[in-house]
């Protein structure tokens, strides 16, 4: 495994790989790797000749009052975790290396970024698209890997790739869950014993909404039943709970074929997110 800190050297390696006809998988991360990142890398390892993992805490996706400075960084530890999974190249540039110039050209995530988690993080998804576009170009990846846990992020990136014809495939890795369905998250350690008992109701509620929608095609009713379940089974507070088209994140219509059901719920003081992406034909699987 090679650790590369400059764009010039990365481009050299990528050029060589391309000339040799090798496929490239990119795993973009902000480092401080956990199991989820390694699952992405493992998937990339299986599908590509060369796996590049980027480790870059991207300042442009943090708001002024967010934790850019204090975000945890430990490249040495990350390297030790990434190597056994079969990562070939760690790309860990400095901020100056990634943003040496700024001509003022901006990518605006637009409508999709103003809802769900984006509503409370103005500019966040603009920054995500900026760094992701740069990494896609630098790596010349054939495939890039993201966790479905951050469904809005994946949807917006997917939309950019589609609408701007980026020559790569976005691969989404399913949410890893505890036995009782709770989505794995580094925030789960903050849950009290009582919180932890209540938390699986989030995933249950998504299943309820999905079943109801595929049966009745009634969005309002599906969301209402799901919200009722959360309110009955937990002391939590729903931040959002929405059924939208995927990846456009528009209101569901008769023409919608791909759906995102997404929620954020405060259980005690801990904000948990969860989601499901499913197809129209999902109904068949459930008959």
């Amino acid at each position: 495994m090679e650790v590369i800190k400059t764009i010039a050297l990365l481009k050299k390696r990528v050029k060589k790989a391309k000339l040799d006809g090798k496929t490239i998988g990119l795993v973009p991360t902000m480092g401080y790797l956990h199991e989820g990142h390694l699952t992405l890398a493992n998937e990339a390892r299986q599908e590509n000749d060369i796996v590049i993992m980027s480790i870059f805490v991207n300042p442009t996706q943090f708001g002024p009052n967010e934790d850019f400075e204090s975000y945890p960084r430990d490249l040495e530890r990350d390297c030790k975790l990434a190597e056994p999974v079969g990562v070939d190249i760690i790309f860990a540039p400095s901020v100056e290396e990634m943003y040496p110039t700024d001509g003022g050209i901006a990518i605006r995530a637009g409508r999709q970024s103003e809802i769900l988690c984006g509503a409370s993080r103005p500019g966040h998804f603009d920054g995500v698209l900026q760094v992701v576009a740069k990494l896609f170009h630098l790596s010349e990846a054939d495939r890039a890997y993201f966790g479905q846990k951050d469904a809005q992020q994946v949807a917006i990136i997917q939309t950019m790739v589609r609408d701007y014809n980026f020559p790569l495939q976005i691969r989404t890795i399913p949410i890893v869950r505890e036995k009782d369905g709770l989505a794995k998250s580094s925030r789960n350690v903050y849950l009290t014993e009582q919180d932890r008992k209540e938390a699986p109701a989030i995933y249950e509620s998504l299943n309820i909404a999905k079943e109801e929608y595929l049966l009745s095609r009634n969005v309002d009713k599906a969301i209402e039943l799901a919200a009722k379940h959360i309110n009955e089974k937990t002391n939590g507070r729903i931040d959002y709970l929405q059924l939208l088209s995927y990846p456009d994140l528009k209101s569901v219509t008769d023409e919608t074929t791909h759906f995102l059901l997404a929620t954020a719920v405060y259980i005690g003081k801990t904000r948990l997110i969860d989601n499901m992406i499913f197809l129209n034909k999902g109904v068949i699987q459930h008959v």
Copy 2:
């Protein structure tokens, strides 16, 4: 030469070319080809294994009161002109083929687009960047060819390529001039006999400004002398006449190494543009 109208087929051809290790040159045009386009294609022919010329009148770069509908189109004629130059693929998609979806993600050209020609065409360069980003991705070109005549366009595209790390090179083809220095333009036919006599003063004035700047490093004086020349030698009206950094289009400082000197002048009723791009070390060539 093959004429391709769908993205799917273009991608198939590009994929094959890439697998064969071939280099690709892209010549983006809006069709109705003239000598300038053919010069671009000829240059692309010399530097690449495969030459793709796109012919697409891009609606998103036209303002609501501009001539999108009436813009001349003649694909048959264009094909007859492009084939002898050695174009391999004409990519001529419909508007629906290029913009089947719109997730609302926008590229904003920003500061650079609010000056020079952009000042009177709000949104124009946003549309240019949108279509150019799509074409860069679709063609997976190693090099893309633009005429320096549209210097602001080239500067903004160059800036996007630089700041977003697009894996291709922008090649700029010099302005073709008449013997007396007047930049060739399809608009020159609108000049009266008197206008035509006055018009070379535009290029003369650029030379005056460049010489003066490289001698005195005084931007104001350089521009003043050039403007004086135009005002003395013509009955024209200067729209703009500016010396800026290239490609950022910022005010010149001691650190500036690349310069754009650009002007637009109404000679009679005809608006003519001209420019020069030069280096700091240009001074050496002139000693």
